[in-house]
């Protein structure tokens, strides 16, 4: 195969595979910087194991990506142990993960008080700053900080309870 053709095939595979992989990773890490880093790292680690014109499958790339995320998160831990909610974010694509299902998360959020739902929507979903959120909610910035903390703690508990309920059911 000519060098030119080889590069064309490579470019085509690259263009077809990276957007799906990036979205898969983003869904779990929820920020562009980390999603780009992990995507790049996934290709860099996977490619040396394959010989052209053979390319890794999408499932293979995703498994490597999950392992990279798991390792990165573990390295930042004081105790090096993954917590349950993190694991729920890192299940493989074919396994059902409710935490990655926005409809389910939205339903669980409805169990929070109205104020707690509002603060999470403004700060996290809409992406407003603490000052902007404080203004919209007619509260001090300190109050917003306290409210969002209680909201996340409650939500974490609810997510875990619901996950356990699903496991037992």
């Amino acid at each position: 195969m000519s060098k030119l053709k080889e590069h064309q095939q490579l470019r085509q595979w690259c263009n077809e595979s990276w957007p799906e992989l990036y979205r898969y990773i983003y869904k779990r890490v929820q920020n562009r910087e980390e999603a780009e880093d992990v995507t790049q790292d996934t290709y860099a680690r996977t490619l040396p194991k394959f010989t052209f014109p053979e390319f890794p499958s999408s499932a293979y790339l995703k498994t490597v990506a999950l392992n990279i995320i798991r390792d990165r998160w573990r390295q930042r831990k004081v105790r090096g142990i993954q917590v349950q909610l993190e694991e729920a974010l890192l299940v493989a694509e074919n396994d059902v993960s409710k935490v990655l299902d926005s409809t389910w998360v939205e339903e669980v959020m409805k169990q929070l008080s109205w104020e707690q739902q509002t603060v999470l929507k403004l700060r996290i979903v809409e992406g407003y700053s603490r000052a902007e959120t404080a203004q919209k909610m007619n509260k001090s910035e300190d109050a917003v900080r306290g409210l969002q903390y209680r909201a996340i703690q409650n939500l974490r508990g609810l997510l875990l309870d619901n996950l356990k309920g699903a496991d037992e059911g």
Partner: protein, 498 residues
């Protein structure tokens, strides 16, 4: 001070909102919070990667396919580069950030034995030894022997000083213990991590290979720290030149994680020695015993203390690395000018590093140590820390322009031990206001006395000073160079009295 869980969460949300990776150390609680925030973010539309991202991936793939064609040449070059870097930078290259490695090594240090020398050098290059101390440290226990033979020991149950010259043994209060902080390796590791640092070389210190770090506190003179290349522990510290003198602290011998003869920590009274007690306090088992002896009821957190000490009108709850001291409040609460202000039930809370002080239910409470916030919140659930993001200066009716070059020079002066009044916002406001009244200079007692100045608010970064008389009613100050207790205050605005 470590961030509060509320601040940690705020940081996570802001970082993810900026589409950045929250690179932070995570405890179980913070990891759970971060996962919950990520779950909520699934309700957002995912951010697209940067426009050139696809091109970047293609370059990686292309480079890999070329690498496969010429494996020997590139592998050889890569191996060569790694070898050169490893030989040049040793562990710092192979193990990542040397400061991170030091922090880990210090955390894993269970015991050590060593000799610390403190020497001073003047600008003429003359050097002399100030002190030499032998140190034995095991967990919370330690023993220090000075060159004159004085031995200070804290064995967890007693703290005492054997003064050979005077043939006496002084029994000292066990808590709070300030002696230990004089040689705390954790502090140095923490500072190195906090401030910007660069590797500036490799040197042999006391027969050991070390990596030399230059540490630059914001707005201050840089200083140097040498880290043992084998153990990753700090071996030598050299301060910046202050008052034409430079001090160097060197562990001329240092053995980490060694078995220490427990005899060194035991109190043995040699024949002919007398024992002197300096109110060492009384160890009791329960809070009610403490109350009976001290004649007041302390406020107690949910977490049980490891030990309870009672002194005359003072109860000390010992939590290992953190101490709570409670005394009956004698006078109205006055926070120190150099501390930041928080709030406990509408009353001021003084915050100085890991030390919180406030009055509650007729008691003055001091909580000091890494767990201070957690324990203080168990006593005062409504405790609010100073909000450093709040801006007071925008309220100033008259803005005062500041020459940053002069402010930086002033900060260096204060770092060197001169004009310490610049650390006190009240003194800075006093000087400013009086120079408005008597522009020719302050001679003798200032026209507007110190007693008329009062702190209105202080979040650690900005402060408002209320002035009861004179042409100015409020002065607005800010720590412009460094936003911690070592940062000087500058006037950035004022309100004229109407």
């Amino acid at each position: 001070m470590r961030q509060t869980p509320e601040q940690e969460l705020d940081f996570m949300i802001d970082t993810l909102n900026k589409e950045q990776d929250p690179k932070m150390e995570l405890h179980d609680n913070s990891a759970g919070m971060l996962a919950a925030v990520r779950a909520v973010r699934t309700l957002r539309k995912p951010a697209e990667p940067n426009s050139s991202f696809g091109q970047r991936i293609y370059k990686i793939l292309k480079a890999d396919s070329q690498r496969k064609r010429t494996p020997v040449r590139l592998a050889a070059i890569a191996a060569g580069v790694i070898l050169v870097l490893a030989l040049t930078f040793g562990k710092s290259f192979l193990n990542g950030d040397v400061v991170y490695a030091m922090e880990k090594a210090v955390l894993q240090l269970s015991s050590y034995q060593g000799t610390l020398e403190m020497s001073t050098e003047n600008l003429a290059g003359e050097k002399w030894m100030v002190r030499k101390v032998e140190i034995w440290s095991e967990g919370e226990k330690y023993a220090l022997r000075q060159t004159d033979g004085t031995l200070t020991v804290n064995n967890g149950e007693q703290k005492f000083q054997v003064r050979a010259k005077d043939q006496e043994i002084a029994i000292l209060p066990l808590v709070p213990d300030y002696t230990k902080r004089g040689f705390d390796l954790h502090d140095e590791a923490e500072k190195a991590k906090q401030y910007s640092h660069t590797i500036v070389g490799q040197e042999n210190i006391a027969g050991r290979e070390t990596i030399k770090l230059k540490i630059s506190p914001p707005g201050g003179e840089p200083y140097h720290l040498w880290i043992d290349a084998e153990t990753d522990l700090p071996l030598q510290l050299q301060t910046a030149v202050q008052n034409a003198l430079q001090t160097t602290y060197t562990f001329v011998s240092f053995e980490p994680n060694v078995q220490i003869d427990s005899q060194i920590f035991n109190l043995n009274v040699p024949e002919g020695f007398k024992v002197v007690e300096q109110d060492p306090g009384q160890l009791v088992n329960t809070i009610s015993e403490a109350s009976d002896i001290s004649k007041f009821v302390p406020l107690v957190p949910q977490n049980s203390p490891l030990r309870i000490f009672v002194f005359k009108e003072r109860i000390v709850l010992d939590y290992g690395d953190t101490t709570i001291i409670e005394t009956p409040a004698q006078e109205p609460f006055k926070p120190a000018g150099y501390g930041a202000w928080g709030d406990v039930n509408g009353k001021p809370l003084e915050v100085i590093k890991e030390r919180l002080r406030w009055q509650q239910q007729g008691l003055e409470i001091i909580v000091e140590g890494p767990q201070s916030l957690e324990l203080a919140r168990q006593i005062a659930p409504d405790l609010v820390l100073p909000d450093k993001d709040t801006e007071f200066s925008s309220q100033a009716k008259v803005k005062v322009s500041v020459d940053m070059e002069i402010v930086k020079a002033d900060q260096k002066q204060v770092d060197g031990g001169h004009t310490p009044w610049q650390l006190d916002p009240l003194s800075v406001a006093l000087t400013f206001v009086n120079l408005q009244v008597t522009p020719e200079g302050i001679v003798g007692e200032p026209e507007i006395p110190y007693s008329t100045f009062e702190i209105g608010n202080n979040n650690g970064v900005e402060a408002i000073i209320n002035v009861a008389e004179g042409p100015i009613s409020k002065v607005y100050l800010k720590r412009l160079v460094r936003q911690d207790e070592s940062g000087i205050w500058s006037v950035i605005g004022y309100d004229p009295r109407l």
